[in-house]
Symmetry: C2
Subunit: 105 residues, 2 copies
Amino acid sequence: MPTRSRNRYAARARVIKAMAHPSRLLILDELKKRERCVCDLTEIVGADTSTVSKHLSILRNAGLVEDERRGVMVFYRLRVPCIMDFFGCVENVLRRVAKDNAAVL
Amino acid sequence: MPTRSRNRYAARARVIKAMAHPSRLLILDELKKRERCVCDLTEIVGADTSTVSKHLSILRNAGLVEDERRGVMVFYRLRVPCIMDFFGCVENVLRRVAKDNAAVL
DNA sequence: GGACTATTTGGCGATTTTGCCAAACTGGGG
DNA sequence: CCCCAGTTTGGCAAAATCGCCAAATAGTCC
């Protein structure tokens, strides 16, 4: 209820919301392996360049990735690798849900 | 690009999206400590009961919490504690962003 | 400077999310 | 059965998100 902790949760939510999109998760997963230019990511995601660029700016604003211009191209890197450890837990959730659904049958 | 992995990312995104809201993060944090009835959570979150109930159903549908009715009240419990380990990393991101902003000044 | 490539930004309609109110539903007690 | 507290559901308006196109910007090469 205090403004203090409310802001804290809002800040966390902003970071998590930045991850909460299939294309952005795919991008993060790809950047975990190595840095990539926007052109690579556009190809991988399979959407319009402008769309991918906007996804990247969302990730950058959240502090999850950083970019570096080299010539004409802009390369993006994962900034906080620990983010990826989280995926294991998300998979746990999914497995559990799958098991429940199976049990219902 | 293959449908296969695209679905995988979509599934992950659904789970993460369920977390991506300040009130829902607050709820998860509270449930980490102990189970709570909807009435408790309504008080803690400070929103309409119906709003909190909807947040809870989002968390339940994502597989993050489970509920149990005891008499008139419904108690919610955290289902996947590992979710909470993630918060440490999110805090890392926030600290890093804060440091960057300070550096700019 | 002009042409070309890589990327970002502006803007739009379409879809989704959010939070409240009102109404429905559920279980316990008189 | 009626009433009541606790919870869920339906519905609506406001706000946010999404993905594309078109236009602007940045850097390289001639």
